[in-house]
Symmetry: D2
Subunit: 338 residues, 4 copies
């Protein structure tokens, strides 16, 4: 961390300041006097150093962090890709493309089993399905809850597909026993108490980026889970909020190469929520694979018009089949398996 | 809700569609055939009607909500201002300006009592103090927790000031027995499970707007609390994320008159988090009062340089005194008490 | 256009209103009386109808445009892709991928000729080079101006590559005689006087999207050029401003399929300005081709460290060669030529 | 400027780098070797140093500007407020509040004279009126042009009010002979050729902030005008683009104190464009005065429903009278004249 001091700092103030920092944060200090400014460099692990607190000191002009504030999620300290292995042996992040597919909400046994079989036939490796749904309105359908998770388990029994579902509160965890991957939604990306709690759970976590959060904030939220003990985190870009109105959100495709460079964790793309539009899922999925994503999470419904939520972005099984054919073309050109 | 259909809709499709809507949402339907488009209007309470689901129908071109989706927070159905009365008789939202002040984090008994006395002397009516702190980094100071809440209670005993503190998880509620107002932070504005939970609590809730959330989303989150039974909600604008880099966030001053018009709930401004800069708190507080805010929540610390969080935005007691003098000038010009 | 009136509109007000609209905008009117609102639909060409003016009427509750406000750029009225043919016979938008490459700024004959030959060898079909540079600071290098355009012409003589360069004011046009495509930069996307002026020029225009402009606004700016007589417009997405700080801008990859659907004009991507980072140009270029872009515009410099502007995002010729190899893989998988 | 180098820089590379910088930018260099990084500080006037170019050097890790990149607009070098005096002796920026008012577009002699007399009676000191209008659509009313400027001059003759009008291209300047202040609109804030041109004009310039531009970018655009010779620049905040949909733009009230601190130039607020809603003009005007603005620019029309542009945000003369009464209350409380 580089701290630029104001022009008129006195020697005693400087000494007090550096002693304070050394004691409080257990870091070394290197002072350099320039012609018209003094620069203090902090040496060692600065991840616990609070920039705001430093910046509040009366003698400080500005503060610049040089080291990334995340450690466990940082590729610098873990050069090899994290590969996550599910109970059934499926590997995520091993260089192949993993496709997760299924309905936005679980609605009935018939629906979820039918969709599960269809997406499995087209090449999906994991089944998604919402049981607890984060809805902007308290009057909208909130998901089937525990019953929904049971239906997912039935679909797993029928098809063998591992399942992923979203958790919205720590108290729901006992219901997630048979879920293979727990999802944290965009609106809970900075629900730090939930993140800490999931850091003590022995299941992989798929962590979605918040609608207006930076890549560094996403990595810091992953760091919350990892620092609490659970290092099996999958990062998921699902569209950010911008001024564009012709689609629901804007897919930040650059997040894929940037996250892969900064972190060793697997990176997924959710083209369904990113656009909110059926016909955009295919080109965005193709772009995601071309940009280097480790996987996709796609909404598929056997009857999108009747879906209880997010019908506008759900593919039919035959539309999903078309997406799979096209992403296999891209993957194949890059010597990757889907 | 106005639904514009595609040009080539057949009579049978239209009939099926309108029957489906009438049954599913218990609303009336009014069809109007124009020259080159058919428009379906929904009549009745459309708050549970899902725009996405309607928009996903193959015959629909676009959907426009005419009614606001919130009811309990809506001024149309509750023309009079909500006035919240605390245990000590203090009224919030009654036309006077209520100032909340205190440290970002509770750090010691000496600190919180000293600050409480100082802000009380300058005219603050409620003491703020964080015990559970939402921090971007897991390595940063996370607050004193239960001990912090006890120190707040001591400061209340010493000064008589009611206290407000932030909750981050439902499981923390038992510790908030002596807290007068429970705060929900910006990052939890759409933690819907927490909102539902707080809807069953018998204390006023101060709900902060998320960093990239719209005014309607803020009102929908208030609606979550109110629909669960707790109608004592205070809305708080605390700065939104924009492209500006010279300050931490951008205060949306327009939110004050807009929220006052759309809702009957009290509206507060947090100029400390909005700017993140000590010297901006005064002009922003003055602007907030001029724009019609019901109250302010301001960070004050007896030693900002040594604050364990957000020191850069904390006022000293004497700076706070200056803010109070200036907002009283504005309030007085508008015939309001502080 | 659908106009929802307020609840309590009187018959005379309605008649006055509809007569006013019919006369002013030369459109038909269709009135439908619902249970609790009256809806007025406008029939005919509503592109000149001003939503703000309609919305200002005292009897109007809200206005919703159903028709797109652009006509000449609209695919609905021109289903076939626009194909632009340059003087040397090169076709843009014909299903193949056209790569434009070259230095940010023209700096010397040696530089521009050397880069031109290198990018031609790797497969670029058009040479880019800035002579007039839009710089945030008046103290930064503003480009070589007329001399720069002459050097581009020399590079064209040496290599046969058509050239593209940016115009910043109408008065510069006489200098652009030998330029094959004129570029309008992001900061001038809504310089409407310049757009009208370029509508009378007989050269293709590459129009860059503004940093915070919507897709509809981009199409409206294209419409300005087309409505003035020049229908050879290339649309270019070059990154939008978001909250992300790890790169300069955020590439809106979704703009590619959306623009291709809404308009018949060719769509290009500028991965260099979108990211501002050398190593991101390759994955973003691959994503752009996978998403369906008609072309790319990429910065290449023979000595990026010494570049007078935007060095941080310029590829070396050998990095550019690698990009070309990889986009050819993607293009080939999709049966497209580069 | 502080340049942090990568860890493994060799002595020769460092020497070459610092020699290059000293020669190219005519600045001094101060090197400090830390434990795990080397920091190079630049000494002297760094306003022409290109951060991107520095950042592109292979040995550089990151660059941080310490000095502001603007000089003539910088309060550090010109501590006293700039006061602009118009031909009729009116002073802007002298501590009083200057209100500019008038129609969005000039439409007829009757309209502009009637509005001018009304706003003068309520206390406006300058008449605004658009003759050249920047419209998103080429099919919308583009203003009366030269005829509009003549009508403004007639209104000036009738009332004595100085006039302000917007210029959209350098070629229009000869028509602005009788205009007292030339306005540059938000969409032209980074039309650098126009800014340079206006730097040679002997009239005050009111420069509006772009919809997604930072405060520093606004000051850099002012610097373009000032560096070309015209130091009479008025800065105007007119609302920025955010995600909020209940109003047209979001007024950045914090820009007032921030601009006043960073620069010595007068700062105005445009509450009409900021909100796009009639009833919001009053509370936003009051907030602007409370926050320290030097003036306001407000749209007033004698018949808003019939206005040819932006009717939804235009006040009637009696609404404007109410705004004036209320801002006088605030100004008076702060010992300022309106």
């Amino acid at each position: 961390m580089i701290i630029v001091l104001k022009n008129d700092v006195k020697e005693l103030e400087l000494t007090n300041f550096t002693e304070y920092i050394k004691n409080k944060y257990n870091v070394g200090v290197h002072i350099s006097h320039g012609h018209n400014s003094t620069v203090v460099g902090l040496v060692g692990d600065t991840s616990s150093v609070d920039e705001d607190s430093i910046g509040a000191q009366s003698i400080v002009q500005s503060v610049k962090r040089v080291q990334e504030p995340y450690k466990k999620a940082n590729r610098k300290f873990h050069p090899d890709n994290t590969v996550i292995t599910l109970k059934n042996g499926l590997k995520i992040g091993d260089g192949s493309i993993t496709v997760i597919a299924g309905p936005c909400s679980v609605e009935s046994e018939e629906q979820v089993v039918e969709v599960a079989q269809a997406v499995k036939n087209s090449g999906a490796k994991i089944l998604r399905g919402g049981a607890f749904k984060p809805r902007t309105s308290p009057y909208a359908f909130q998901g089937m809850g525990a019953d929904g998770l049971e239906l997912l388990e039935k679909a797993n029994n029928e098809t063998g597909l591992p399942v992923i579902s979203e958790i919205m509160a720590a108290s729901q965890l006992p219901l997630f026993n048979d879920v293979d991957i727990i999802q944290v939604g965009a609106r809970n990306m900075q629900n730090f108490e939930l993140l800490k709690f999931l850091g003590k759970v022995n299941k992989p976590i798929l962590l979605k980026r918040g609608l207006a959060n930076t890549i560094e904030e996403l990595l810091m939220s992953a760091e919350y889970i990892m620092a609490s003990g659970n290092e099996n985190v999958i990062l998921c870009e699902r569209g950010i909020r911008t001024f564009e109105t012709s689609m629901r959100n804007t897919l930040d495709i650059s997040a894929v190469p940037m996250l892969k460079r900064l972190s060793h964790l697997p990176v997924f793309i959710d083209p369904s929520h990113a656009s909110g539009i059926t016909w955009m899922v295919e080109p965005l999925s193709m772009a995601a694979v071309a940009a280097g994503a480790d996987g996709l999470i796609i909404e598929v419904h056997n009857n999108p018009s009747a879906a209880l939520c997010d019908g506008a972005q759900s593919l039919t099984p035959s539309q999903f089949e078309s997406v799979m054919i096209n992403i296999k073309k891209i993957a194949s050109a890059l010597d990757k398996n889907v």
